[in-house]
């Protein structure tokens, strides 16, 4: 099943600044939408606006050609959000964190243990998140993303706090996701090389 994420004439004003104006794009399943630009130029804001967390001055975002505000729950059921602040609770263990997330989502056939294995976090299951390193916490957040088993990934600066190996792993996961017919929206201040088609949106 293929999906389509598109936007028409987006304008966003934050406080005194107009971050972007008349921005449009269309993204089909199997590709990466890369939001580029300097630090603090509004990449994250654009991504938050697409996901429905910021209200836009003008324009609309469409999921499968239907405005997202008309189908908020369906749209949110199809996406997962990965950002700098992981949204994981430092006082809870890895398993407690992830089982909370899975309780909110549709049942998935993905094998949990193999995901832990792949991300190299199987041994950390019983530990509380606060005791993990920043890189390990990022991996837990990646696990949450994989376990959500949804077509649309939002990734805000996914390479921060990760070593070389971790970065390669993120690229690999994204490639895999796209090859399976998924879609990814990524904000990054460095370029990303992929086998899959990359659709670039640059913000001045």
């Amino acid at each position: 099943m293929t999906h389509k994420l598109s936007a028409d004439n987006l304008t966003l004003i934050r406080g005194e600044r107009c971050l972007f104006q008349g921005l449009s794009f269309a993204q089909e399943s199997g590709g990466l939408l890369l939001l580029e630009g300097r630090n603090g130029c509004g990449k994250t804001s654009l991504m938050r606006a697409i996901a429905g967390m910021l209200s836009l001055e003008t324009g609309q975002v469409f999921w499968d050609d239907k405005p997202v505000e008309k189908q908020r729950q369906e749209f949110h059921g199809a996406l997962v959000w990965l950002a700098h602040r992981t949204g994981l609770k430092g006082d809870l263990t890895l398993v407690e964190n992830l089982s909370f997330e899975s309780a909110l989502r549709a049942q998935s056939s993905i094998d949990v243990e193999s995901v832990y294995e792949r991300l190299g976090i199987s041994r950390l299951k019983k530990l509380i998140l606060r005791s993990l390193s920043a890189g390990q916490q990022r991996r837990v957040a990646l696990a949450r993303m994989l376990l959500a088993d949804v077509p649309l990934w939002f990734m805000d600066e996914p390479f921060t706090n990760l070593d070389r190996e971790g970065r390669a792993l993120v690229i690999e996961l994204v490639e895999e996701h796209l090859a399976k017919g998924g879609m990814c929206v990524m904000a990054a201040h460095q370029d990303v090389e992929l086998e899959a088609p990359v659709n670039r949106v640059t913000i001045q």
Binding site: I13, R14, G15, S55
Partner: protein, 248 residues
């Protein structure tokens, strides 16, 4: 109808129209207030129970009435702004708050001054209307504090709109709960109804009308300021201010 409405709601048009409209509220308003004051102070006979102290109602009742009306305007403005994303309507809400707070304070102060000779105390905790009015003043303070605490105007508009709407529901509940509470403690009522003769009533109605018109003029002037501030980055404000005539 709708085109007219949209035209009025467009900021530059509203900014100009409000300036023209404001005196048309202020002048008749002040005239009515002047006449009502003269009637209320000197012409109308004194109340047989309260004596001349009853003349305070000619400023107390209009203030109390406006304190509620301003809150309703604030909440309705916020709701319209939230639902239809109309910016002018948020500006109306923002402008109504300080005026509403001023009239609420006035209603409390005049009520308290009336209470001194009538109850023998400046403040009677047992009076349900005074209590409701006091809580209303706190609601205004909360609303204005929330606005002041949020730097981003658009965010402040939306957040305070939610608060105002919640507050409207609360005002009703406050009214009934305070009424119940006061009935338990044998509270006294200010300004009993039905004891006024026709002249007294007419003068009071004139005063209420005059105050409402004056309020309208005050509101228009404050909305203008809000609109100017919100539109400070736009082309029309730039053209207006840099043009040799200026805009005022």
């Amino acid at each position: 109808m709708w085109t007219w409405f949209h035209k009025l709601a467009s900021p530059p048009h509203f900014y100009r129209t409000a300036a023209l409209l404001s005196p048309w509220f202020a002048v008749p308003g002040l005239a009515l207030i002047a006449w009502g004051t003269w009637q209320g102070l000197f012409v109308v006979p004194m109340d047989y129970q309260q004596g001349d102290a009853f003349r305070i109602i000619y400023v107390h009742v209009p203030s109390a009435y406006l304190s509620l009306m301003a809150y309703m305007i604030m909440a309705t403005g916020g709701a319209i702004g939230l639902i239809w994303r109309m910016k002018l309507s948020h500006a109306v809400a923002a402008a109504a708050a300080p005026i509403g707070a001023a009239f609420t304070f006035l209603a409390l102060a005049t009520g308290s001054i009336w209470g001194r000779p009538m109850w023998g105390t400046w403040w009677e905790w047992g009076d349900p209307r005074m209590m409701s009015e006091l809580i209303l003043l706190f609601l205004y303070f909360g609303y204005m504090a929330l606005r002041a605490a949020i730097d981003d105007t658009a965010k402040a508009d939306k957040a305070s709109a939610v608060l105002a709407i919640v507050g409207v529901v609360n005002v009703v509940i406050v009214h009934f709960s305070v009424e119940w509470w006061s009935s338990l403690h044998q509270g006294q009522t200010v300004f009993k109804r039905g004891t006024m003769d026709a002249d007294m009533k007419t003068a009071l109605l004139i005063m209420i009308l005059g105050f409402t018109l004056l309020f309208g003029s005050m509101l228009l002037r404050r909305i203008r300021t809000e609109v100017l501030y919100r539109e400070r980055r736009t082309r029309w404000v730039r053209d207006m201010i840099l043009s040799p005539k200026g805009g005022g």
